[in-house]
Amino acid sequence: MKITICIGSSCHLKGSRQIVEELQRLVKENQLEDKVELAGQFCMGNCQNGVCVTLDGDTFSLTPETTRAFFEKDVLPRL
């Protein structure tokens, strides 16, 4: 599974670094390094709804606060 996080200008200012770090931490905590790949991508063209994150082709809008819920609700069940 590949999770792609937008690291473009706008999403960066809305907290993509915190989201990247939170996801890196959650992946490690759940020992999913072999199953989940994290990647960055420049602007996905959806800045109004940032931070943009895609998971198997589906787009999500995250904030640092909602990242854990996203991981539990959308990432874990798909594995």
Binding site: I7, G8, S9, S10, R17, V20, G40, Q41, F42, C43
Partner: protein, 390 residues
Amino acid sequence: MNDLWIETGWLSLNHVGETLCGDKVEVFGGGDEDLTLVLADGLGSGVKANILSTLTSKILCTMISGGIPLEDCVATIASTLPVCSVRQVAYSTFTILQIKNNETAHIIQFDNPATIVLRKGEVFNYPRTTRVIAGKTIWESVFPIEVDDLFIAMSDGAEWAGVGMTMNFGWTRDSIADYVMANYLPENSAKSTASLVIDECDRLYGGRPGDDTTIAVARVRNRHTVNLIVGPPENREDDEKVMNLFFGKNGTKIVCGGTTSNVVSRYLHQPIIAELSYPDPEVPPISRIKGVDLTTEGVITLAKVLKYAEDFNDQAKLAHIWITQKDGASLIARELFENATDVNFYVGRAINPAHQNPNLPINFAIKQQIVTNLAECLEKMGKHIRLSYF
């Protein structure tokens, strides 16, 4: 003429408690033109010293670069400098460094510590003759230059750094030479070498310099062009044309901005591989595109580069960050401030529709302003700048 380039950089510390520096550096030319650099140290400190050194450096720099014989220059200074009412003398020491035709160095020194010359990173003991002009004993040296030659001129405040505090006899010229040699890297800019030495002087003085201290550095180097593209062209049809132009140039290629990276990626048929590491939490991660030397985010990264550039032209307090860090802004700063002699900016005028929203946290219209200001800073550093808009 050859392909050499003369780069200069200097920094001063003021005598503790003084707002004016009694040392003064004046530079004329440089780059691919003849260089005249004068470092003058006025007697005493504060206003008087500042007036003496300003007059001396300005007069010498103007007259010497105008080709007037040294005797006349010295005579002019002797009859111009105001006489100190306390000490009944008019006095300023000076070092003149001239580099002509990118071939010959001519050093003229009066009472300043002898200029250190490093050749291939080792101390070079250049020949020296003396002559007496108007009662002053003046050292003269003429020798051919080589690429990577480094000239370090100083006022005596540098030699005396730490005297009676951290050291008994101050730092001495020889230990300064050893220090520069130990920290020598051929790619270090003139300004960062000056910054390296002046920071050490300040440290030895315990932050309270007992004398005005100045380090002026000239460095002989090869020319190097850096091309930086930011923003896609206003009209999509121009993408191919601008890409042809950008990738047709010699030198380092830097691509700034997400959309711009996408255009480049399509043109080169190479994927963008984004990194996810944040050496500087304020700066978005860099990416990699095969065929491009450096790919970064746009406006936030360049705003940080501009901050570093403004600081570098001032007191260079932030130089230690970008000289060592690996974030996008630091990497661009090193490439532009240290490696480049010529910088070509390719600025796209396209408006990113995704950014046209008042709820977004920054104003993206500032991009062009950042580039213009950055270009001005680089010009102040003595680089040749070309800005093209598309």
